[in-house]
């Protein structure tokens, strides 16, 4: 081995902001459980469905089931729920989040109460199930499967992801119209469920606040271009939590302002994640191994810092047009602009597939020396296309090392620490050689 991996992790400088997240998550579930006791409406949700502001404007408490599965994995308490799902007839190859979520609700149904020792007290019983087609198929199929265990109303919406080579100008009008109609259908459903009418002025104010929140997160994220990098991917994979699960909370706006200040101070003072940053890595597409996040620290031993990610990405910038007064129309236009941005830039770049385009941009902008992708056994959507991305990277950066790590988002049984470390050792040798040859 060209470089000895030193077993030290104490030099990692995690942000203070990231250190707050565990408390925030616990409080989030406590508040959801309390809201349920207070008879407020609780919804099972999926992240990035573009309905967060609408739910907030209707005072609906949002519980994100995929992320609860991730929490179970982090706490290594996913197995009992996965086993329950499999006992109920679901394949062990099904989306790991869905396995945990279905197993959780199947168990609750069987017990007639919250499963004992459920992480952070468990997800409260929902009053409605709200899925969407953004991201992957289980995100709109999973809740229907819960019909075996609960008679809870479901409303799913389409959130479109335009094809890579679509003529965006040609499809924009009907795509935005469809998104707006989907959101209006959801609002009608929510009005029926809650017995209250949507306050559109309030909705518009929430949308504005959300965009301000995103602006601060994006600004904070951009600071990671600095050398040394002021924040690691280990932090990113907790810092996304307020945005994805508490997007409309005023706390979240303040949180990302605080993150920006913290990172700015680090950059201004040349403080990096580690003292001697040798290499900068990109965590490519592929959700992280929630069950063993500590493996990411292993890279630090080589002087390697993950400076950017293409998972749980910060939303694209979006300027609220001054002439749009209908918040639903605004959300619909925003969804289209954001979900077509990479495709459009890929087209401008000569036909680069959007997933690859995201990587090329990060490699350039964040001075990346190597890319790590995570092949997750049970997550098709974040795994399919990784080889294509590697091939496109090689076209643009022929010697850029790309590593495939293999395990799963939740299933610990798929993970081999020894094998993973062996791969990392080899990969880091290649990164060292690459960086050396690049001067």
């Amino acid at each position: 081995m060209a470089q000895e991996a030193k077993e030290k992790t104490s030099s990692r400088k995690s942000t203070e902001s990231a250190g707050k997240i565990r408390t925030v998550v616990k409080r989030m579930y406590q508040q959801a459980q309390q809201a349920k006791e207070e008879k407020r409406k609780v919804a099972y949700c999926m992240v990035m469905c573009n309905y967060e502001e609408i739910l907030e404007a209707m005072d609906i408490v949002q519980v994100y089931t995929e992320n609860y599965a991730g929490l179970c994995a982090v706490k290594r308490q996913a197995e009992p729920y996965m086993e329950k799902a499999r006992a109920e007839g679901y394949s062990d190859l099904l989306c790991g989040y869905a396995q945990v979520g279905i197993g959780f609700d199947a168990l609750r149904h069987e017990l007639g109460e919250m499963p004992p020792d459920a992480p952070d007290g468990g997800m409260p019983e929902p009053d409605m199930l709200l899925g969407c087609s953004m991201g992957c198929d289980p995100r709109w199929k999973w809740f229907q499967a819960l019909g075996r265990y609960k008679d809870t109303p479901i409303y799913n919406i389409d959130v479109l992801m335009p094809p890579s080579d679509a003529d965006m100008e040609a499809i924009k009008e009907h795509s935005v119209r469809y998104m707006a109609e989907e959101l209006r259908g959801l609002i009608a459903f929510l009005e029926e469920q809650t017995g209250t009418k949507m306050d559109y002025d309030r909705l518009m104010a929430i949308v504005r606040q959300v965009e301000e929140t995103r602006w601060w997160w994006r600004e904070a994220y951009e600071l990671r271009r600095a050398i040394p990098c002021p924040m690691s991917t280990q932090d990113h994979f907790v810092l996304f939590v307020p945005h994805h699960m508490m997007l409309t909370d005023s706390f979240t706006l303040d949180f990302y302002k605080g993150l920006y200040q913290e990172l700015k101070e680090r950059v201004d003072n040349g403080i990096g994640v580690i003292d001697d940053e040798k290499y900068r890595l990109l965590w490519g597409v592929g959700l992280p191994p929630w069950h063993t996040m500590s493996i990411l620290d292993y890279f630090l031993n080589f002087g390697a810092v993950f400076a950017a990610e293409t998972a749980y990405m910060v939303p694209e910038s979006f300027e609220i047009p001054p002439d749009v007064t209908d918040p639903v129309q605004l959300i619909a236009e925003r969804a289209f602009e954001r979900n077509s941005a990479l495709q459009w830039r890929g087209q401008q770049a000569g036909g680069v597939p959007p997933l690859a385009q995201a990587h090329l941009e990060r490699i350039e902008d964040f001075s990346i020396d190597g890319v790590v992708m995570h092949i997750t056994r049970s997550c098709r959507a974040s795994t399919m296309g990784q080889i294509l991305v590697r091939n496109v990277i090689r076209e643009h950066y022929p010697k850029m090392p790309v590593m495939f790590m293999e395990s799963d988002i939740v299933d610990l049984g798929t993970y081999s620490e020894a094998e993973t470390k062996n791969r990392i050792d080899t990969f880091m040798e290649m990164v060292g050689a690459y960086k050396g040859s690049a001067g």
Partner: protein, 383 residues
Amino acid sequence: MTNVAEGALDRARWLYENRGLRAKELAAQGKQVVGYLCCYTPAEFMTALDLVPYRIQGGVGKPLKQADQHLETIMCPYVRSCFDLAMGGEYDFLSGVVIPHTCDAMHRIYDIWKYHMKPPYSHCITVPHMTHRASFEYFQKELEDFQHSLERFVGRSASEEDLVRAIGLHNRCRALLRELYELRKQEPPLISGTEITRVLVAGMTIPVQEFNDLLEDIIAEVRGRKPSSDGRHRLLVVGSEVDDVAMIRLVEDCGASVVMDDLCTGSRSFWEDVDHAKGAVSGLAARYLGGITCPCTYREGKVPERFSYLGDYVRDWSIQGALLYAIRYCDTYQLDAPEIKGYLESLGLPVLYLEDDYIMPPLGQWKTRIEAFLETIEAGKEE
């Protein structure tokens, strides 16, 4: 047409065993053949523009040669197989490829196919997952976009009359297939599941008018049969892609008759007609989004209403047992499978769940399980 076979079913078998030959012949004669994946692709648009629609298939029993270098192992094995054949030159005769975004695998393979195969023409149709009123309006726009895309490719336009004519041909095909399926209702069925599979696959590889002519001959031939009942159990197969006879033939070799299916290569692809009374494209949008029972489309409602069409099949085709066939890594089907199983069992049917990687079905293991399953049905009959 190159065809050494004599009877209509023999012709279908020849086409099945020599897939692509007829299309290659047409391509050599100057016809443009456009390949497509998935039964959500409205082939009518291609027919209307005098293109030959060709449904791309995988290769059961053909281990992957090149796809492993380009596709992740957890991707839909059927899609991987199709892509592997394409990489090996099997589909070089195609002038283009159309892939609808119906599931995650279809979505991802589009960019990968384009990147590696560089087809002269390609188009991805965004298919809504929902069936709200606005979903149909959106899908109609998407199909208009698809039509314009094809028109630009061939350099001519399809008129409403062209589309209506094409719809008429494809509706005729659907009607003939339903008529053929009717012949499976009687005991014993006049045509086996293995034969039906060959017919369906053959039809995916030739122009619709040729298939219609073939179907008429097949129906006449099958009607002339006078089989005697041998007491075989009558089975329903529910699943996704079955474009090879291996599994169905195994089941029938074990002593059962596959008399009905809910497969995307089977009844799902032709059960509903296109009604063009309110316009051709509107009718196509309504049929392709609303008329296909694939789990990739979200349909409101709970069990039993959601699967009641299967109950109709069970009743009308006198089903005695059901096989649920899952291709590994298919999230949409696997999320429905336990409920489908529960529903069919609630009808009193024994259900056998089979799962494989599409490419190399474990026929030896399955044989034992199928034989045991048929014994279960027999035992149930005797009780």
